[in-house]
């Protein structure tokens, strides 16, 4: 019997008993839903972590030379922490040294930061992150200026008392008045507002717009770091390959500058998005490892249900099998009919599972910041598993059917 004929037959059997068919394919449906939804969500998390989390916190193709890490996601222990504490602080001179010597094309900005209280017109905002930076910082962070302007290298050189605000402060602090030209106190030191950075949004629900940026040499720098000391040297390369080269070059230069002998550990810390993401990598690997197990359990259950339904179908349709055999159906024809029917049932379940899985992924996307994206390969795997489960579950009932004696089968009421 041609394949197409068998599928048509199977679909008409399924249509004839909609409710029973639905219950029989629920197991496969749930398994495939799970597969699609989890893959989409984990992949969404991946995109989120790399693009938003690492990109926004550290910067694209960017790394930082620091005395110790400030984003902790990987392994950490007391020994390592003490070691970081012993590292000498990074200085403006270190930054200048790298600027003078690095051959890989990079942007470099020395930056410092601390939480300081802001005041304006009697109002105060405690614990606001103050970044003291060189002018290149705006380019490295890809900050768009929504209003006014950023400060120039010239203003950094002369230590101008100017400040660029994060958008949330621009909106909240000034009672709806235009922030440009206002003078705010940073820890009591007056700075004139010259610009507002475009809105950055949130990461894990934490606002990324509560900060101010002043020149590295502004009066506020006194509140952030001791003279000459900075927190990071931000280095941005043009692409991921260049970034790896730049990281190596910066490491070698820093080791040379600090007089470290071969074999001695670095007494500074290079922080990159890759490093910060290592913790998330571990989580997503565990999820992806657990996934096949979870999906397999529902599919095995689904397969057993389908096998039972098919065994019942063989019993119920003994007479039909007898008629078909009397009219010339060979064993293989009967086999094919029931295996295809079972596979069709299962694939129908898989297709429904794909639909609900996609709906689930879109629901997650609608209600959370996760950009859950359906992976095309997971749809392929879903359909493939549907076919496989159905065929495996169908083989035994189909064999039973094909072995029926036509005389006995025709006698069946």
């Amino acid at each position: 019997m041609p394949f197409f004929e068998a599928v048509r037959l199977a679909l008409s059997s399924i249509r004839a008993q909609k409710l029973k068919s639905f219950f029989s394919l629920v197991g496969v449906l749930i398994g495939v839903t799970f597969l699609i939804a989890v893959v989409s969500i984990v992949q969404g998390m991946n995109v989120y972590m790399t693009d938003k989390f690492a990109g926004a916190l550290i910067g694209v193709n960017t790394f930082q030379v620091r005395h110790r890490p400030n984003i902790q996601t990987g392994d950490s222990n007391e020994e390592l922490r003490r070691q970081y504490q012993r590292n000498p602080r990074v200085t403006i001179e270190d930054a200048e040294y790298l600027k003078d010597r690095m051959k890989t094309p990079v942007r470099i900005a020395a930056t410092g930061n601390d939480a300081v209280t802001l005041t304006w017109n009697g109002k105060s905002a405690p614990q606001i992150q103050v970044n003291t930076v060189e002018a290149e910082f705006f380019a490295i962070k890809h900050y768009d200026i929504a209003e006014g302007r950023a400060f120039s290298a010239q203003e950094v050189n002369v230590g101008a008392a100017v400040v660029v605000l994060g958008s949330e402060l621009g909106e909240r602090l000034f009672d709806g008045r235009d922030p440009l030209g206002q003078t705010i106190g940073i820890g009591g030191l007056p700075h004139r507002v010259i610009g507002v950075v475009a809105k950055q949004g949130t990461i894990f629900g934490i606002s990324m717009d509560k900060f101010v940026i002043t020149p590295l040499t502004s009066p506020a720098r006194r509140l952030v770091n001791r003279p000459h000391v900075i927190d990071d040297i931000q280095i941005q390369a043009t692409n991921p390959d260049q970034m790896r080269a730049a990281m190596e070059e910066a490491t070698i230069l820093m080791r040379g500058r600090r007089g470290l002998r071969p074999g001695e550990p670095d007494n500074f810390y290079i922080q990159s998005a890759e490093g910060a993401l290592s913790g998330w990598d571990k989580i997503s690997k565990v999820l992806f490892m657990a996934l096949p197990g979870l999906v397999a359990i529902s599919l095995v259950v689904g397969g057993i249900v389908i096998m039972n339904i098919m065994l019942m179908a063989v019993t119920e349709r003994t007479r039909e099998i007898g008629i078909r055999k009397a009219l010339g159906a060979k064993r293989a024809d009967i086999m094919a009919q029931f295996v295809v029917e079972s596979a069709t049932l299962s694939v129908t379940g898989a297709v429904l599972g794909i639909v609900t899985g996609i709906l689930l992924a879109f629901t997650v996307r609608a209600f959370t910041p996760l950009p859950a994206a359906v992976a095309p390969w997971s749809i392929g795997v879903g359909v493939g598993l549907g076919i496989l489960v159905g065929m495996v579950a169908g083989v035994y009932p189909a064999r039973q059917a094909s072995k029926l004696d036509p005389i006995e089968a025709l006698r069946q009421e």
Partner: protein
């Protein structure tokens, strides 16, 4: 009888029923020529059903030889028997045995599906067969939308669609009232007149009287085999 389409020699069939050995056929010799119209009769337990299964290649004999249309089929196994049933035999059953969820046309197409006939050709031949039994206007109806007589006509169309060597009808009027029975017997008569070999298995003498030759079985052997010089003819012209 060179033109024998069926030749049975020394056919025996034994069943093991528990510890008892039932000898359903005890050595049957029989030849049926092309375009004969034969009725096989006998009381229950005479081996009539076994004979019908044997002739229809649903069963194989324990001993003896069965030649059907020039091939020996008595030693064939499962799938080969299926092929023979598909090509050589058209079954008509007492209970019609149509697939309830399929249309008349789909039911008639079924043997062609297993013969591997392409879809278009299948439609054409099934339509022709249904038209031949006078159901050209009922092709899309399901069995439960048809009367008993119409169902049996669908079954006859299905039996004919593969142009089989023999038409094998097992109590074809057993589930029909007498008026409808006459109508069905007229169809058989007409098919016979068109050259079809017809074998009726029945226990009703008045049905058997339509045949041109009556074979009576008793205790697994042929008791009598007589020509019917004056078969009953339904008077109304065939469709």
């Amino acid at each position: 009888m060179s033109d024998a389409i069926i030749r049975l020699t020394g056919i025996t069939r034994e069943y093991q029923m528990g510890t008892e050995c039932v000898r359903a056929l005890r050595g049957v010799d029989l030849a049926i020529a092309r375009n004969e119209y034969v009725a096989i009769m006998g009381p229950s337990g005479s081996g009539k059903s076994t004979m019908m299964n044997m002739l229809g290649c649903l069963d194989t004999p324990s001993g003896g030889e069965y030649w059907l249309n020039g091939q020996e089929v008595s030693r064939l196994v499962d799938d080969d028997l299926a092929r023979i049933r598909n090509r050589e035999i058209g079954f008509v059953f007492q209970t019609f045995n149509l697939l309830p969820r399929a249309s008349a046309l789909a039911n008639v197409e079924l043997p062609l599906v297993y013969a591997g006939v392409p879809t278009k050709e299948r439609h054409r031949r099934a339509e022709a067969a249904l038209t031949r039994v006078g159901l050209g206007d009922r092709m899309d109806h399901r069995p439960n939308e048809l009367s008993g007589g119409q169902r049996q006509r669908v079954a006859i169309a299905r039996a004919l669609v593969n142009e089989p060597s023999i038409l094998l009808a097992d109590e074809p009027t057993g589930n029909l009232d007498s008026a409808t029975s006459v109508e069905i017997m007229r169809v058989f008569q007409s098919l016979h007149e068109q050259g079809q070999t017809v074998i009726l298995v029945t226990h009703e003498p008045d049905i058997a009287e339509h045949a041109h030759r009556v074979i009576v079985l008793r205790d697994g052997m042929v008791e009598s085999d007589v020509r019917n010089a004056h078969p009953v003819r339904t008077t109304v012209a065939a469709a």
